[in-house]
Every structure is written in structure tokens, then in C-alpha cells.
Assembly symmetry: C2
Homo-oligomer: 404 residues x 2
């Protein structure tokens, strides 16, 4: 098989080398890691759930379970998805060991070496890493503030010599771009894909994490839209709404896609941990999830507000971004004279890090962007981090002006 | 990619169909499932461990961890493996989501569609399922009471048109054959593979489960043998010594093999559950594992003794088996006039099930064997199960005599 080492833990490998050199340094302010906040995990709730499990259920935690998933968890998720408008009678749900495993299974199901995949540019680096590991050719389609660029997609569809097997997108609170697809763009996309036989992979890892309740309706899954002839595989994750340490995700697809996916999962890890599935199921069915989501939305919104205030206060006007309505990320655009990779080295020396834009570029080249993650950030460090970042950016701006 | 659906949960698919039809029937005595005993899981110990975790460690349970594994667990396992004679300075350990994931990773690392794998015949069905999913050609090499048949292996090595990428074996308490490789056979095998470039996969899922302390030395990993030029990948599992619900395993290999394996794992599920790894690490480092193993050895030995006594008392002399010294399985050999598949249907109707021999045959044909698993069996059901099995076998023997 084809194996290519892209990024381990969401950082470009060269950034990692720099980071390793510097890792002894204390007090590094990190906007890099796209992970939930350690201090926000529902530790007390899971303690309570574990303490209240009856002995028979506890024994079940230790045993093998069905490859497709722990039946009560499947049921709880189906109920959740129905509430989001998903038709669960015509779809099948497969529990996976994290949603990355779902992406891996889908890739193994559809991709042979050399097959073409369309992805957004920028794109979630974990997915790029999977696609590359299985030898796919990836074509990045640009996105803007409202979603994938329809003109660019249309052109690439006409231009490409082989039909892409699927298009992979993250319509809600995109990683790294932070944007959410507009209703209009969602429909345009489905219209274009309709009847082409190109499968749409809809990664919804962040959909529950809007900052404001009034924006909830914006996150409606594309898989719930009626009247289009598009085969959509929806992937969901517990990583952002419970904890990545549970390694729990799921995929929702047609029965045909599900059956092959189940066989592949059987050969990957037989089944997902019953222990983790049972705790997660109690978390949903015991009524813990919704209040926890309310807390998370408030906490992440506060962190974003602090970050946005600092960015507005300090950053030079040449640096721009689209304000996100949810999720974990701010995606800065730098003036063309500055490269994110050059900034990274200097920022690291000053004690602040981020992820460079090229990490998320299928071609690993575009370097005028950088991703700031505010999710796992102590509130009190945000302003200092922005001040440090700003000073480095200003230095680079000054130098580039001197050079011209 | 190549996808072939062999067996879900260790039963031949046609057996499953029969079993599904009958599943409404209460009181089925099952010698089928190769899983640990529900009543033996260390529920109390894990309760205690969970209750005693400090808050910081609990938070860590929820978070992402390194792809290679939770560092303290790697350390605990390294200490364990050193005690078994493994040189951990020249080897690297990768934590996997069950040892089946290790087999899957190794297969993905070395196998392209059409590549040749040598496996034992019979062979662990989960491994066969993985090899087939990735499109390997599998050649089964027979085993006898002392291990792989050296003459047959030598002949196949001379006969095969392409070099096998690896040989996959389970030297300790084989699934399904129950045997353990003799010291002589281990050395003969290493001698033959030496210098051929054929990698040896040593699956040691059952090595800790000898019935008698005096037999412990028999389970010494082949990877600890000195003086042979064979690249060995050792796989270990927590499924039989803690619980399959944890989905925890590991592989030990050269650094070169490890590095590619880590990249593949990164694309499979990013990392294994920190939650499960932290509990498992406390189970080892807190001193719970060794006493628990002592208990398991005693319990499984008792179940085997009960089963052996019933088999000796009831079964006709034409049915034979090699007494296992550990593990979960008794591998019955039937007279040539009887097919295990025919027995299966009748046994199911009588309320007792097992796994047919052909399930474990890479070519899915050899049908004169059946596997009885005594691990997850209530002690009081063993004799009744054997009586039912015997009556069906005797009927078939009588019929086959009438026909001749």
C-alpha cells in the first residue's frame, strides 16, 4: 500500500521539528492544537455515570460488542439525528473509533491508489493524511466565506480527466477556515453534484458548537436536504462534545455503503470499545449532553470573543479574517508579502505558536494563512499571545516594506 | 480496495445464518464464542482504579494522546516484556486499538493486492478476515501437536512462485487448535525463515493463560530467541487478560517497521483511547494484573478440566483431540465420515453450538474439525453441552455406518 507521512497531530512536519527543538521552553502560548479544552471535560458527569452503572452493564463494558456498534448507543444517536431532520429509516448508522476512522473506512471503501478525491482547500489535515495514506490524488477546491467556490468546483469537474470518487467537506465551522456554508451555497452544491454519481462526505464534527442559539438552524446537515440525487455520507464525532479520549464517532450512509463499511471496520478493529460506547450512551440518554453543550457553547464563545477583541485591538489592518459563528478556529489571512512559515519560526522563538496555512493545503504550498485555535486556551493567555504574534507580524511587515 | 466478507464475530457466515434463525431459542449452550468469561472480568478492580484516579489524570482520559500510545502504558508494557526476555532497546512498541488493529496495520504496511501470506491451517479467523479484506493470497500451512509442519512449510517455500511477505502464527495456545509450539519446533521454524526476508508475525494473545505455573516457560516469545536472522513482529492483547471491551493491543517491531506502522495508525484512528489506556496502565502498574492472571489461569483450567472429563466420558473413541495446556479451546477431530457443518445444523436444533472447522481454514473447505470454546461457559452447562453434542455425533456415526 501507499504510505505517506504528512502531519502527526495536526502540525506540519517541519513545524513539528521546530517545535521539538523548542519544547524545553516553558510557558509557550499555543494557538496550535485543535483540541477541546482540558478544563471543560465533563469529568464529574462521567464519574456520576460510572458510579451509577449496574453490575451487569459494567460487565458488558469489558466484553466484545457488535461491529456496527453498541445497540443502545445506535438508538440514542438515531434519536439525536432524527431531531436534526435525518431520515433514519433509509439510512444506517455505524459506530466508529473516532470520526477519523469513519473517514478511513470510507476512503478504503471507495479509493484505489491513484483515484481522485475532491477536497476543500484548505482542508482538515487528518482527512488529507488519510487520503494520502491510501494513495489518492487530491484536488483542492477553494472555499470562501459562504462555502465551497461553486465556479471553481464546476470548472474542476469539467477539467478533470477522471471522475472524483467523492467530495469531502466540513460545512459547519470549518477546520481550519472557521466558516459555515450558507443555505444558498449548500443548495448550489447539491444541485451541481446531483446525478453525477460523486459521493458527498459531510464531516460534521463541529456542528453542535455554534456560539449563539439563534444560529443553530444554520447547521442543518446537507444529508437532510430533499430533492437531490446525491449519495451523502455524514460523519459525526464525540471528540468535540464529550472528549477525543473516548475515540468515538459515527457515519450515516445508505445501507449498501454501510454493509461494506461494516466489513472494513471488522478488519480494522473488530468493534469499537464497549466501555466507551456505554459511557457515551449514558451521557446522551441520561440527559447530560444537552446541558453540557450549552456550557461548551458559552465557554467557547467567551474565548472567541476575547480572541476577537485582541485581534481587533492589536493586529495591523493588513491581516484579515472572517468572524466564525462557532467551532474552534480563526483563520488569519496575511498580506502577500509575508509567509506564515517564516512567522512561525519567529513566533516560536517569542513563545507563541499556531498552525501554518500550508498544513491544510492539499498541495502543501499556500502559505499566506495561519490557523489560531482558541479552544484549548487559558482565557488569560489570549491577549498576551496576540500581542506576541502581532509584534512578529509587524516586524515582518516592516522588513518587507524595507525590501521593496 | 479489495473487500471480502468472511466471518463476523468468529463464526462462519453460513453458521451465523443458521444461528440467527434459531436465536429466539432460549437456553442455547454455546461452545462457539472465543471470548473471555463475563463473570470473570475485574469489575471491582477497575472500579477501584477509576475511583482513585486524581483529577488531572481523569482529565487526561478525555483528551487526545500520542499516536504511538500513552507513554506510561508504553513504559509499563516495556517492563512487562523485558521480564519475558524481550530486548526493548532495539525494539519499538506501538499501542493499538486491539491486537486485530495491529494485524490490520501490519497487513496494510506490507501487503498489496495479490501478495502472498503464509498462515497456519487452521488459523485465527480474524486474521484471515483482515488478510482477505486487503486482497492477499493466503496459503495455509498445516500444524500438528508441536506447531507448524516444517516439511510442509519447506515444500511450500520451494513451490511458491512469489515470496510470501510474511508468515502469521499463534505459537501459544493456538486459536482454534489449542496447541503450543515445542521448543524444538520454534527453533526449526526460525532456522528455516532465517535469511529469507520473510517476516514472522507472532500473535501472542493467549500466552499468559497457561493452566499450570510449571508450563509458564513454554510460552517464551520467539522474538526473544537469539542468533536467527528473522524480522519478527510480536503482537499482544489486553482482550484476554483484562477485557476485549477495552480494545487494547500492541505490536513490537523494529524501529523501521514501527515508523511506517505509526503513520498507518495515524490514518486509521489517530490514537487509541486515552481513557482505556490510562485504566489499563493503572491495572498493570498498580499491581492488579498478576493476581488477576493467577485467578484467570485457575478458573480457565477448571473449566477445561470439566470439559475434558465430559469429553472423555461421553465422546465416542473415534473423536480425538490434543489436550491444550492453556488458552480457550479444544479442537476436536471427527472421523472422516462426518462433516462438522452437518453436525452444526443438528446441534443447533438440539440447543448446543460450536464453530465449524472450515471457518478457520484459509480455503474454507476442511470440515472434519470443530472448535469448542470453554472460556465463556457456565461450569454447570459443560456436561450437558457435551451430552447433546455426543448424541448428535453418535447419530451421524450410526447413519454413516448404515450408508457404507
Amino acid at each position: 500500500m501507499y504510505v505517506f507521512s504528512r502531519a502527526v497531530n495536526s502540525l506540519h512536519s517541519e513545524d513539528i521539528k521546530l517545535l521539538m527543538k523548542q519544547s524545553s521552553k516553558k510557558g509557550l502560548i499555543s494557538f496550535a492544537a485543535g483540541m477541546p479544552n482540558n478544563d471543560l471535560f465533563p469529568v464529574r458527569e462521567i464519574d456520576e455515570i460510572f458510579a451509577n452503572l449496574d453490575h451487569e452493564t459494567k460487565k458488558r463494558c469489558f466484553q466484545y460488542g457488535p461491529t456496527s456498534g453498541y445497540p443502545p448507543l445506535i438508538k440514542s444517536l438515531e434519536t439525536m439525528m432524527k431531531a436534526k431532520g435525518m431520515a433514519m429509516n433509509s439510512n444506517k448508522l455505524l459506530i466508529t473509533t473516532g470520526s477519523l476512522q469513519a473517514i478511513s473506512i470510507i476512503t478504503q471503501e471507495f479509493i484505489n491508489e491513484g483515484d481522485l478525491i475532491f477536497a476543500e482547500c484548505p482542508c482538515f489535515v487528518g482527512a488529507l493524511s488519510v487520503f494520502e495514506t491510501y494513495g489518492a490524488e487530491i484536488k483542492g477546491i477553494p472555499i470562501d466565506a459562504e462555502g465551497i467556490d461553486i465556479a471553481a468546483l464546476t470548472m474542476e469537474l469539467q477539467r478533470c480527466k477522471k471522475r472524483p470518487k467523492f467530495l469531502y467537506i466540513t460545512p459547519n465551522f470549518h477546520n481550519p477556515a472557521g466558516i459555515i456554508y450558507s443555505e444558498k451555497r449548500r443548495k448550489q452544491l447539491l444541485e451541481i453534484l446531483s446525478g453525477t454519481g460523486i459521493i458527498l462526505i459531510e464531516d460534521d464534527a463541529y456542528g453542535d458548537l455554534y456560539f449563539e442559539e439563534k444560529d443553530a438552524y444554520l447547521t442543518k446537515p446537507l444529508k437532510t436536504y430533499k430533492g437531490y440525487d446525491v449519495d451523502i455520507i455524514y460523519t459525526g464525532s464525540f471528540s468535540k462534545i464529550l472528549g477525543p479520549g473516548f475515540r468515538l464517532g459515527y457515519m450515516i450512509s445508505s445501507e449498501e455503503i454501510f454493509e461494506k463499511a461494516e466489513t472494513i471496520k471488522q478488519a480494522l478493529d473488530a468493534c469499537t470499545s464497549n466501555f466507551m460506547q456505554i459511557l457515551a450512551n449514558e451521557f446522551i440518554s441520561g440527559g447530560y449532553l444537552q446541558p453540557y453543550l450549552c456550557l461548551l457553547r458559552k465557554e467557547y464563545a467567551q474565548r472567541y470573543d476575547l480572541l476577537a477583541a485582541s485581534l481587533e485591538k492589536y493586529l495591523p489592518a493588513e491581516v484579515t479574517w472572517i468572524p466564525p459563528k462557532g467551532g474552534f478556529y480563526v483563520w488569519l489571512e496575511l498580506p502577500s508579502s509575508i509567509k506564515a512559515t517564516d512567522l512561525f519560526a519567529d513566533c516560536l522563538a517569542r513563545g507563541v505558536v499556531f498552525v501554518t496555512g500550508r498544513t491544510f493545503d492539499p498541495e502543501s504550498t499556500k502559505d499566506n494563512r495561519l490557523r489560531l485555535s482558541f479552544s484549548n486556551m487559558p482565557k488569560e493567555a489570549i491577549e498576551e499571545g496576540v500581542v506576541l504574534l502581532t509584534s512578529v507580524i509587524e516586524n515582518h511587515l516592516k522588513n518587507s516594506t524595507l525590501l521593496t
